[in-house]
Amino acid sequence: MNAYRYVLRRLAGLPFLLLGVVTVAFLLSQLSPAEPLASILSERQLSNPEAVAAAKARWGLDRSPVEQYLYYVKNVFEGDLGISFRTKQPVIEDLAARLPATMELVLAALFLGVGSGIVLGVVAARFRDTVVDQLVRLIALFGSSLPVFWSGLAALSIFSVQLGLLPGPGRMNPRAAALDPITGFNTIDAILRGNMASFSDAVTHLILPAAVLGWATTGVISRLVRASMLDVLGQDYILMAKAKGSSGLRILFHHALRNALLPAITVIGYSFAYLLTGAVLTETIFSWPGVGSYAVESARALDYPAIMGVTMLGGAVFVLTNLATDLAYVLVDPRIKLQ
């Protein structure tokens, strides 16, 4: 199959997957024991017959389940995810307000995880079957075996409580003056406003959660980079480069790593999506005001509209990043076989 047809086919499947995501959310909300009206209206409005009638009409609650489903899909695609029980705000607004914090954390974690994963993978391949290799393997294994909600707690206890090196939970020092948001990314906003004190505050708060979250990716990436480095290092052109007298470092980073990183692209794409989920637990530990902690607070309070909103957002992000990753892979490596 040629690449264009593959891309077209994947793009054509996208609306169906997104519709599937919404359908699952609808089915789950039907399963939930909550009274559906209560998930749309506040308690005070529930005693107002006009508001009740309007909400019933908008969500088709007086219609058959099939019609309810159609109303649900229409409302979701118009951006109406209902009103949160807990915050009494439209879920979509809550999500929009909290998304930048999550993106900042996830991107920082991805940067740390991928960076350290690549370096460790190259080192492990260079020192294959030595103590160094085993050590890297152990680091990787710990990364994928540690429960982030516990390693986050341990990191806080060690670096913040015992050693006092880094600040405690939160995104900024609560006593510092609040930053006027531009992008919603505190680090970038601080630079844009030229406020260096806020910048260092934001960065120091970011280090621990990003490192804890990124560690899980380090493991996967380092294993993959190691394997593909070993593959590439065995090829003739590397021997050629050696014969021509290239230095070891130049061979590793200039000749080998470029080709070895190709398979890593897929994993980086998928890990972005997985980091979004890992963020759920990390944000809870670090009181990070993002979508993840919103999801947990909603789940604890059985706030169904909010839970479904987060689930749909997660599903949409997951579908889109997976698609982007697959497409990027096709574009980067023309030899790839498509099925």
Binding site: S32, V161, T277, V280, L281, I285, I307, N322
Partner: protein
């Protein structure tokens, strides 16, 4: 006359040792936790549910791992906690793999629109981040250990369905299957006797590798409050107690190490099972 070189070089003895050591290590740890799950109630010093000392005391001879915010003994609770995490992971992986294998084998074998229905269901389930879907399902069913397990099964079966369908599709093209069809073997027998026996290896390898991830997910759900109900000494829930009082490190330390040790051990065992069953994948 010189001896000819062996066709396949033997791995040096030391390398062999390092390749099997983690497997035995994992097996030892898991055996410990299984024994703890079965017998802990007979030898732990205190009841895991009751207040047995003053609140928030650091580790001492009386309370090896200290006491929590309600004055319960963390050591007793950690040991008793094995009875939650390990059986749940076992149930989830077994049932998830069973459902996935049945549907995947069906999809691969019958083909056509029936296969398409199953596989689209797989695609849709897999288009959610696992943790979020499990949270949404567990919350919709209402919190509790059984619903958490059900939620995890819903998240886990599609992986096996996809794997099994691919396996069946590849085995079905083999010559012995063609021969069986030609000699008039009926479809049910064809699937059960000629196709499925060749499909199990990757399923088994994946199931062992997944065990650790299921333990982690179960603990995560309990940590959030969607798994075991409060007094139960479930490890994730205990770490959650520790998160509230994170200045008292010992509350969360032991249950966290317990989760880590189980997941690490299961990963070691999974690696070893893969090496044994699937030697081609082994050397990278």
């Amino acid at each position: 006359m010189s001896a000819s070189a062996p066709l396949i070089a033997r791995r040096p003895r030391t390398k062999w040792f390092w390749s099997v050591l983690p497997g035995y290590f994992g097996f030892t740890i898991i055996s410990f936790w299984i024994v703890a799950a079965l017998t802990a109630r007979f030898w732990i010093p205190y009841s895991p549910f009751d207040t047995v000392g003053s609140r928030l005391t650091p580790p001492s001879f009386d309370h090896l791992f200290g006491t929590d915010a309600l004055g319960r003994d963390v050591f007793s609770r950690t040991m008793a906690g094995a009875l939650y995490s390990i059986p749940i992971a076992f149930v989830v992986v077994t049932i998830g793999a069973f459902i996935g294998c049945v549907l995947g084998a069906f999809a691969g074998f019958v083909g056509g629109w029936r296969s398409a229905v199953v596989m689209r269901l797989v695609d849709i389930t897999l288009s959610f981040p696992p943790m979020l879907l499990a949270m949404a399902v567990a919350a919709s069913f209402g919190p509790g250990l059984t619903t958490a397990a059900a939620a995890m099964i819903i998240v886990w079966w599609p992986l096996y369905a996809r794997l099994m369908q691919a396996q069946v599709l590849s085995v079905i093209r083999m010559e012995h299957v063609e021969a069986a069809i030609a000699s008039g073997v009926r479809p049910g027998r064809l699937l059960l006797r000629h196709i499925l026996p060749l499909c199990w290896t990757p399923i088994l390898v994946n199931a062992t590798m997944d065990f650790g991830q299921v333990v982690l997910l179960a603990a995560s759900l309990s940590f959030i409050g969607l798994g075991a109900a409060p007094p139960a000494p479930e490890w994730g829930a205990m770490v959650s107690d520790g998160a509230v009082n994170y200045y008292f490190w010992w509350i969360a330390a032991a249950p966290g190490v317990a989760i880590l040790s189980v997941v690490l051990a299961l990963n070691f065992i999974g690696d070893r099972v893969r090496d044994i069953l699937d030697p081609r994948k082994h050397q990278s």
